[in-house]
């Protein structure tokens, strides 16, 4: 399958490299890493074993890639004002678009421009970061849950799950993408935000009992917001928040991407992870006051970012 990767950060490079190694025809839109990858290929340093791709199809413009069967979007949502222009040149009549971006609003943006029938979304549980140009570090995890923006289990979504699995990436197709997106927010909203605000990792956070309680309060607000959406079945607040806490307690001193971005003075993905979820909850009459407060505190710090 010919696949274009739009947004070749740590996520786009890792998944693209895994797919290419499994035999897919991968085309990366590159920015920072273009020169390095042209000259020396792409190096993946992974907890599952390092590997090197000597020949990688990298491009500096989307138009050069031409039409593809599948676009995978890994762009940071803070660059979503470029998203439509970057995807458009890759679209043929049958091209599907899978966005693996964070938070809410990405599928809607693509659907509005290109039609909802093209659009799938996926939630990536991936710990990775970029090293020097041409190198990506895979620290752990990697599982993807993907589904149709229009809902339901399709042949297409199940086919993509098979393709990822064949590339060594655990993947499942879900019928309720909306629920999957909100489930991820139950993690992202407390841990990305609190760790970024306080410049502390998840282990430090959960070792401070009042902050652990606050994390759970935030989760319960997000779950209430989720359950106001048209989910196939509601999320059990007590059970799911307990699961998430247990899961996070096993992440040894993990630093969420938002924490790393804040420490580096980069803009945060506040719109996708806070603003739009707050709007969606409010639209169905559900307030998330502590989420709102966390958003305010994070937003204030953005004035110091680049």
């Amino acid at each position: 399958m010919k696949i274009g990767i739009i947004g070749s950060g740590a996520l786009g490079l890792y998944y693209g490299a895994m797919l290419q190694r499994s035999g897919q025809d991968i085309h990366f839109l590159l920015r920072r890493d273009y020169q390095a990858i042209e000259q020396q290929g792409l190096q993946v340093n992974s907890v599952n074993g390092d590997f090197h791709l000597p020949r990688v199809a990298g491009y500096q413009t989307a138009a050069e890639i031409g039409t593809v069967d599948l676009v995978i979007v890994g762009l940071k949502t803070i660059s979503n004002h470029h998203l439509i222009d970057l995807v458009r040149p890759l679209l043929g009549a049958e091209t599907a678009i899978l966005t693996l971006q964070n938070g809410l609003g990405n599928e809607e943006l693509l659907a509005k421009a290109f039609g909802s029938e093209r659009v799938l979304g996926g939630i990536a549980f991936l710990c990775s970061n970029r090293g020097e140009p041409g190198v990506v570090h895979h620290l752990g995890e990697g599982k993807i849950r993907l589904g149709e923006f229009s809902g339901g289990l399709s042949q297409r979504s199940q086919g993509l799950a098979v393709m990822f699995e064949a590339a060594g990436i655990p993947c499942s197709a879900v019928s309720d993408l909306c629920r999957a997106r909100w489930e991820k927010l139950v993690w992202n909203i407390p841990f990305n935000g609190l760790c970024a605000l306080l410049n502390k990792d998840v282990t430090d956070l959960l070792n401070h009992l009042p902050s652990k309680k606050l994390s759970r309060d935030l989760m319960l607000e997000v779950i209430a917001g989720a359950n106001g959406q048209p989910l196939e079945e509601p999320i059990d607040g007590a059970e799911f928040s307990e699961q998430i806490i247990n899961f996070t307690e096993n992440m040894d001193h993990y630093q969420p991407s938002m924490m790393i971005d804040r420490a580096a003075g980069r803009l945060l993905e506040l719109e996708a992870i806070y603003t739009i979820p707050l709007q969606r909850a409010k639209a169905v009459g559900i307030s998330m006051p502590k989420v709102e407060m966390l958003h305010t505190l994070l937003d204030f710090g953005e004035k110091d970012s680049l």
Copy 2:
């Protein structure tokens, strides 16, 4: 009147110096500034005019001061575990104790040890800080509102107000000390906490509209907590929060003491300003969820303090 000053930081030094200049017999318990004041006296650099006191009665132990007519307490509440031992040597049969410390719980601590009839409390609106040893900077304000811990307007409290006024310190006696303390918390809880957490001054804070809204939300929670206490008359939430915001908008880039303390890595007065007010509100069935969240976020940072 023979007066002992326990806690000679910026507040204790400034008020003590003003009282001495007006003719009162002032005795300072000194720590950091002892040597400098012994050698060169006490210098006050004030927006109202600088002055110098060449001879100052400074001591390194409370016992040397002996009994006084009035103890003024300016100790940081984080040192309250020393408070009783420091005050005790100064008490004669008729000695009154006036605590000008921040937050809640200080009068109770003194009343429990020495009897409530001795205890008065005061709220100081003072912008001051310490310079090099022997120098205190008075940046503005200075007004005190004081009252009996047991409530009511007494001859004693009105007499102290006259004494402060005669020293050039605006002062009024109030019959409802509890209300005055909570009114001050309506300022302290949002502005001390948010500025310390975000390392921003009050002007920066209020120029960010979501943070201004959050400040008001916090004030309204504190006012609800206050109105659950046995006040002589309740505080009008909308009107009082508006007043406080207007007042604070005129404080040009003021840095609350808690912001300065956090930036310097010093411990914060969280118990007096957050923990005890939260307990008092909870005891009458009132929750202050955003105040609680702010307290949690501040408390977490204390692990990095000295």
